[in-house]
Symmetry: C3
Subunit: 340 residues, 3 copies
């Protein structure tokens, strides 16, 4: 898609300085922008890049002094950062302009679709599924029987949602996300192998949850695995059966939470963290990357290590760990001294 | 789906106390059950929940004393836990009642399907594939050329099985499982980059293996990557080329096993464990979560740490690790004392 | 597929000793080969397996002395290892012999396909996509709008490539790979929850890159996430937004790289390694499995630990860590001595 400076200026209520017909087709940072790029300048420290940037159009805040490059066009606005953010949102939304059910999709007769819904080719919508308004389901997705998807959700290509799942409004699930697969529940039996516990619960995800690529969320053995509103999960995360994650908690990539653990609200959990099953983690907890959590955690704690403890204490211990060889030598010297 | 108390009582050979027409449509724990829920009561310690539960129907063991709530119906049986388990299985099986090849699936002419097979829409069955009886293949799955799938397998939506794979009976592969992708085999060459080793082996999976969502199992470079019968793999696990995993071994989420390693039978391997390539792990080995295994492990060992050693020894060392700063201070005090 | 000894000998310019009509249908190591298998013998230390192998056809180097088993046929060549490698390549290439767009695929009218392209059933090629020559796209794949795929790429079943991605020549993406999903960019806002940063950049992957199953590569917030030529990524790896990975760097399974980090060329990064965002890692760096990298790393460093430091130093510290309980006892003994 291509836009002219004057089209953009109209959208963000700005004033053109230079060529109103200058064309742009992509967005870039000012230091990296080439011909055909749109960028913005909101802070004096970036003014120096005006000398070298190849950007065709630059949105610039009124308060910024700076000489317009010969090959660039300025759009002057009150707050260029905010104006650019408005443009980014518009750019983003254009990805979701399709509506209707594509010819190659399967939608069960008992499924109900809201208004303004898109269902891409090779997507499969099961029996009694309910899809809200303005939902965008890309190709190759699967929505199992009896599941509910709230208004405004975006389901990227290849997402798989098992039966009975309940999804709130304005959620985004990236490609490869699996919702509602069986929990890992096996009981040793008398023949020295494992009996599978039927996993008959479901997954409930509240509003405004975003889930990254290839993250997996298991259904509850009974009851529900629950992801509260505003939770953000990065890529390749594992959430076990019957886990509950509190509002606005953020978890980085490749972390794992084992079955039946409850995590509070407003937590920040680092990448590759492992959390054991059947524990309770309080509100506002912070956990450093790669830590292992084996016990309940009180509100507001900040932890590190595997097993984890207070992160300041961990850092202090680790400083000594790095110097253990010389410490050992000191001890042996002391011993030698003693035995003299 | 909705069932009445009398329908359920008939199925589990129980006696109704209360309203035989009471309707339920979901399963719940007694402490969480609301109207329309079915639950069970098998242990005296849960009797107190009879005062607060909203369950419409409660399966209760004969031996349990307990007053029926006004809004609930009892079904009396000899062993309510067992009766509930029978119901769970019935509930679970209803997910797999479809048969036949859906119109939008592709099945190669040279493929052979057993009796009572379901192939969902947008699934692709390659040349010379052999599918056993009572196999359930959900939509969006891919079964590559020459692969064999044994009787009773369940292949969830979006599973991808590469060519030449051999799968036993009664296996379950959850969504996003990848079987038979290339092993990570590259050899540095004279031009300072990597030559790909062709990966011409396959994957062999024996009976009763369950594999969790988005777990990946690479094909052998030559020969077979082998998963023995009864093995249970959780989600997001990586199994490298030419690995062999012994009978009934259980591996938790996000663990990884590098190429050519052999793991014995009846092992329990924790989440996020990493196991290096080309080693042998004995039978009955237990490995704590997040451990790293870099050497052969004898039968029956229990390990922790990265690199891992005996888990009791690890715990003892870790206790001291946590107190290293004060230990260091003690040493410095001793040094000071010495030098006086 | 079945081949006779004489067919194979013709292909690799070898001389048959034994039955020219001996048939083989699979490849195996000499110690594991059974009837119907083809194997090779290039090193004297494997000559002993001639007594026990069941291989029907054995490619053997001229320089190897060894008695032909009664049930086997030899094919004599100058270098049996090289000859076998030629056969492996031929075997491998037969997987990619299909061409054309299968009836059940969707290709947008504005998409451009090169010569000799295969697009499997249920694959979706978006608007303005450009596909080079000799590209093989298996079933159930998704290529988003405006993406470019270079000549000779192999896209395995179920790969998802988001819009605007740019892929070089001769890349291989295994099943479940996700290219171009949103970076994990959220900014806390005044209502105590998170505002999503629009992710309007893309992913650029250069030539000869191979990516393992279920690995995820996020698009840049702005600009590009860049994977340089010759990079090899194993399975289940996470690459964050705006990351750049240098030429010929190799990363093992389940490692993760957080946003905006730059990794140099010719690095070797172990399994389950975690690398924090916004740092720079030099060229030729080696990182041991499960390590955590929290700071810039100079060229040529070899690191271990979480947080990582020099791997020799780490090993020395870890040796002492294992003996901490006895060290503590020694210190207490010294204290006791002192206080006497």
């Amino acid at each position: 898609m291509e836009f002219s400076a004057i089209q953009i200026a109209t959208l963000i209520n700005g004033k053109v300085e230079g060529n109103p017909d200058a064309k742009v087709s992509k967005l870039a940072k000012i230091e990296e922008a080439g011909a055909g790029s749109l960028t913005f300048l909101s802070h004096p420290k970036y003014v120096e890049y005006l000398k070298t940037t190849g950007a065709s159009v630059i949105i610039i805040s009124d308060e910024i002094a700076g000489e317009k490059p010969a090959n660039s066009t300025f759009i002057r606005v009150k707050d260029s950062r905010m104006a650019f953010s408005i443009l980014l949102d518009a750019y983003h939304k254009q990805q979701f302009s399709k509506t209707g059910v594509e010819q190659n999709a399967v939608v069960a007769k008992t499924a109900k679709l809201g208004q303004n819904v898109y269902v891409g080719s090779f997507s499969y919508i099961g029996e009694n599924v309910s899809i809200g308004n303005n939902v965008h389901i890309f190709p190759n997705a699967y929505i199992g029987d009896n599941s509910k998807i709230g208004d405004g959700c975006i389901i990227y290509p290849g997402v798989k949602i098992y039966f009975d799942s309940v999804i709130g409004k304005n959620c985004k699930f990236h490609s490869g996300v699996i919702i509602g697969s069986d929990g890992f529940g096996f009981v040793p039996n008398s023949e020295n192998n494992y009996h599978k516990m039927p996993q008959v619960g479901n997954v409930v995800i509240e509003d405004n949850v975003e889930i990254g690529s290839n993250t997996t969320i298991d259904r509850a053995t009974m009851g529900s695995t629950i992801i509260r509103k505003g939770v953000k999960l990065d890529n390749l995360i594992q959430i076990g059966h019957n886990v509950e994650i509190g509002e606005n908690t953020v978890i980085a990539a490749q972390a794992g939470v084992a079955g039946s653990t409850k995590i509070g609200r407003d937590c920040m959990i680092g990448g590759q963290v492992g959390i054991i099953g059947h524990i309770t983690i309080g509100n506002g907890v912070k956990i450093a990357a790669q830590s292992g959590i084996g016990n309940d955690v009180p509100d507001g704690a900040t932890l590190q290590g595997s097993p984890a403890f207070d992160h300041f204490e961990y850092k202090k211990s680790y400083v000594v760990f790095r110097r253990l060889p010389e410490l050992k030598k000191t001890i042996h010297d002391l011993e030698g001294n003693k035995s003299k």
